[in-house]
Amino acid sequence: MPVLSFFTWCENTSLGEAIRASRWLFPAIESVHLLALAVIGGAVLVMNLRLLGFGMKRQPVAQLWRDTWPWMVGSLAVMLISGMLLFTSEAIKLYYHEAFWVKMSSLLLAMIFTFTVMRKVALADPARVGPVWGRAAALISLLLWSTVGVCGRWIGFS
């Protein structure tokens, strides 16, 4: 089973061992993960609320997209790095955890969706692409990111 052996290798790296051996490293990295969650949550919500017609309606969607973009990408990077560190410390446990696989699948879908469809809809000419597309994209985005969040929390209960 190549996947399991890769996970086992991850867990046995000195990085994974160091995080496991330390009393405060895991909660510290988890705190960073949570702080970045707040930022990415804010950036994603500002954008999705706008697309749903609840947010800053006087601002063009494309402008809001460009203004929240650096915060979204930046916090996503922090989430991915801190998440990988957490992963190395308990990779084998995660291998057997359904919530982990659901989280990773929806994370992949959420990122692909955000960087392709969402981006296209947000930057499209409002005269050409109706608000229905924006609303649909926002709902899908919220659904995908929520699944990532809920599964992430659920990994902790085991």
């Binding site: 705190s31 804010g42 500002v46």
Partner: protein, 168 residues
Amino acid sequence: MSLLEFCQWLGNTQGSIALHESIWAYPIVESVHVLTLCLFLGLTVMLDLRLLGAAMVRTPASEVEGRLLPWTIVGFVVMVVTGALLFYAIPVKTYLNIFFRVKLAFLILSGVNVAIFQRTISRSMDQWDTDRMPPFRARLAGGISLVLWAGIVVAGRMIAYNWFDKNS
């Protein structure tokens, strides 16, 4: 009745024991508390970043505040209700937890920061509404808010650990 005695009494109520021992209710309440972080704190961070002149600088500050505040308030209510339930489920241990006390202190300071902001520089928002870089007092309020909330999140996470608990 001391606070500790109150917590002991609270922990012995039927509801508290039921929530503490529940298989689903407690983790669900905790999950809602953590995930509402995106709604409440996420939008608070976006407003703070606007006050710092770091995000959405082309949008007037009043527009960011006005459009996001209703959602932030909804998030805050959910946070307080679920947070109170989490305390209700484990009152004595939480009361004695040093991180919980730090979190509460930071929460109060954060409220003071908002109150000062509302009574001072926020009153003249129409004068700096469209400034990409708001005045120093507004940036200060945004910066203090970010630092305090970061502290609240970290302290909140650490409540799970009893490293420095006071002895009951």
